[in-house]
Symmetry: D2
Subunit: 297 residues, 4 copies
């Protein structure tokens, strides 16, 4: 096949597996690596070659995709003794699709540049189910030619790819900003639901006013419903994980010298929730924390 790309894939959590499966389905030549080896099985059945080390997953690859959990893991697989930088051929691309901090992305970009490799950052917007359904959105940034080379992979993995420019950290800025706006929306609901409750109004009615009017969008429908139902124990995204995201957001803002006063409000809310033992509940539990501050709980 003409367009077939030689791909390595490192990091097979739930998202990684779903994404790698789509790369395979698009008939690219795929080598897969994961620290705990059992997660490789399904993909190998489907035709992927298993690698037993990061280095092996980089050999003769045109593109190595990483989808690892956090900045430390990214640093390790990239800069470690037999990591991506040390193992990837010159001219090849490290396509980093996890959600990472702006600082580590800048550091990786420089490191790969030293090794005549290229970093493309392409964090994704969506969950494993969206990947499987072909509905994932991708935000990609990096040197133009490198981004172009990744396009067949973006087509394989997602629905739409947004171009965030030539600096990898630009894609990070968009991904984190999208999460930031979501945090603000939840906090806005938290505050306003407390207000209408204290005026004796039914939360369900206010929910309908919002979501059938100016705020007829998933952010408000999904999280507003959790707040109305107080179903914080069905966890889509936990308070603790949101706090980690907040950390990346504030790091990016500090690097760029941008005050984020609304962000401070909801980060404080998350901290207070964790201080009340709600770290493992869905982050919409911010609404309960606001309720406490309003004398409602």
């Amino acid at each position: 096949m003409n367009d077939s790309v030689r791909v390595g894939f490192i990091g097979l959590g739930r998202m990684g597996q779903a994404m790698a499966a789509r790369v395979l389905a698009a008939e690219h030549d795929l080598v897969v690596y994961n620290r705990s080896v059992e997660k490789v099985r399904e993909l190998v059945k489907g035709g992927a070659l298993p690698a037993s080390t990061v280095a092996e997953a980089c050999q003769e690859r045109e593109v190595v995709i990483s989808m690892v959990t956090d900045d430390n893991a990214l640093r390790e697989v990239t800069l470690g003794p037999k990591g991506i930088k040390a193992s990837l051929p010159a001219g090849a691309i490290h396509l980093c699709m996890g959600t990472h901090g702006a600082a580590v992305i800048q550091q990786m970009a420089a490191a790969h540049n030293d090794a005549k490799q290229t970093l493309v950052a392409a964090p994704v917007l969506g969950r494993p189910e969206a990947v499987t359904a072909g509905l994932l959105n991708i935000v990609a940034a990096g040197p133009e030619e490198a981004v172009r080379k990744c396009e067949p992979l973006f087509k394989a993995i997602g629905k739409r790819t947004f171009n965030a420019g030539t600096k990898p950290e630009g894609a990070i800025a968009i991904k984190l900003s999208n999460n930031f706006v979501l945090g603000c929306a939840i906090e806005a609901m938290a505050e306003s639901f407390s207000l209408i409750r204290k005026y004796g109004v039914s939360p369900q009615v206010f929910y309908e006013v919002l979501t059938e009017g100016l705020f007829a969008a998933p952010a408000y429908k999904v999280y507003g419903k959790i707040i109305v139902d107080e179903s914080y124990d069905k966890v889509g995204f936990s308070t603790m994980v949101a706090l980690k995201d907040a950390k990346l957001i504030f790091e990016a803002a500090e690097i760029a010298r941008v005050p984020l006063p609304s962000g401070s409000v909801w980060r404080d809310r998350l901290l207070s929730a964790v201080a009340h033992g709600e770290g493992d509940l869905d982050w919409a539990v911010m609404a309960r924390d606001q309720g406490r501050c309003s004398g409602l709980e």
Copy 2:
């Protein structure tokens, strides 16, 4: 006609005229009053009877609708020497459809109660064009029977009516909270657009990421576009008017003892914008103010 209601209508600004026209079109018996008399003309041509005083607009009416600009005007037409309270028959309803503060609504409700009249608060969500197109949403609250009696009018004027309970100020709480959430959404965009700009990302791309994803709703589409285009001089809702709204929101929150930290953020933003001479621009100009704080303008 069986369902025809004897209605008085006080306050014929752009919204009031459009609403009264719909009352008339639904064949209710309509008397209209406005301080400057020329605004009555069109409606009188259409079959409404002109009143030359507030008192006249109340005579033998089952319902008097008020749609006046602010709390002071409401106090005046309601409690003034020949105002609604003094002129409306016992048993009749004052249907207050303007956006007012919780305090004044509580005060009016008590006053009408003393006169054996009833106050129903039913602020609206939408602009004159929405009224004319029959797309207006209404939030109504007040004693059950009184709200029921107003239903033919709600049907005449709007598309959908949300029931906010039996206390008139409940409807106010919803209307103000809806505006509050909108202010938060604009502020969230203001902050995040500054962030992505400092990472060299195109505002248009971030706009698409938001509005084709979690935030595919009018609030983000309309105001995000103004921010991307920097078209703050096409004013839908000015900074100064938004500041007035903020005042009502904070008054309502103070009465109910609800902290609104996100609200303080965007009210400060409005104040700063006004301090920079941007009081007459659209309130999306908050994004420019945030840009200033980020060293961007």
Copy 3:
């Protein structure tokens, strides 16, 4: 006596009585008025003439001092049918020594100007005990000549007078700003005491570090001690009264278009305290509210 001024004094609460007593002791010609007449007794024994109306307290006076509880009371005694404006001779001075809002002061200044009278605003810093001990500080502002004419009275009443310029609202701005800085100091302690407590540190030790170092001042000594002792029920200044002050501060800031983000933080704190039934405790109870948000209480 040459310097003797013909003074009227309106408003004999605890502060007013203490201040009037000093005016009397300095041998000025004093007429006193209070709504509830028994508060006049002590001063009359000391040589003051009792007035039975505001108008009477203004007759032939060079200066009328007002020391009333709030903005509504000030409007009433000043602009009411037989109020100060209507009764004070042209050329005379209304010396307003209560703590009022910037808006009402601007309104009064204009009203007196219309009547060829002059408003001097001179709010005070201190409590009744400080007055009696001759330790009161005064902040005075108004037209230069008028302020100069009031100087014998400032000398009689206080220790030191700060000159806040020629606009009466300037004195208001200083008085409110001083309270504002105090609120910020209490909030800063509230937050930091929570932090050190969560690290297992004794509040008393942190109190000593603060007050024997950079913060060796009454604001920290007095309020820090209340926080360490959790003696919120010995009320110097209650949460509810502080909330009123916050309202005046935010009104002044809105008029001047000045964002006060730190102020919003402590006003929210007060609201939350009131929502928890702590409105009648000393406002240092902000520290307990912060403790709640930190999972400490």
Copy 4:
């Protein structure tokens, strides 16, 4: 001499040199180490023994004092291959007197514990001049016996030592909280000076009202004067350094789950100042940033 302690001293910046000189003057047995060797000279003249490695500075020492610039430097000298942990005798004490984060202190305490050594954290409050004048305050925390063993050194170096309990990070919490309260005080002045300026009041007068009243303390006298004089270029503590401190404060607060809303306000202020090119000015320049937001600059 009976009380003489065998001391190693690592890190001879301006503070370190001044502190080591006092250790020497108190006739303790002192070995000194610094990366750039010329800083050792003066102390060696005074009787200290020079060490050419960290390891050498640890040999046969009862206490090794570290006074290094930041968390990375501390990690390196402590945990590096021939660092303090590897070199200090069992039973000896690492007395860490720099200002560090809570996380690194917890990590060091655990590491030393593994090596049967003890960590005492004892950050200081004051500048080099205060050290030389014998006016330094110290905040010490760690296992009781270890703190007791350090007392002769505290006496040698400082004026007063505050006991922050048995966990080293407790001392850190106090040091950072003290800086936090200072940031809040400067921000409070920033906001209030903008307010009074917009009412036409002289900053000098407001400065006097504050510092001769409730705020008669160094924090307000020193920083208030910088604000009144706008002498931001005489830098005691720069915006960039303050931003580093803010980072440590927020890290400590996040570990302990304590929201710091006032802290977010002044950190945003610092970020905005840096975004305006004021990173190298004194952090009191926050007042100018607030002025900008108020339309004053």
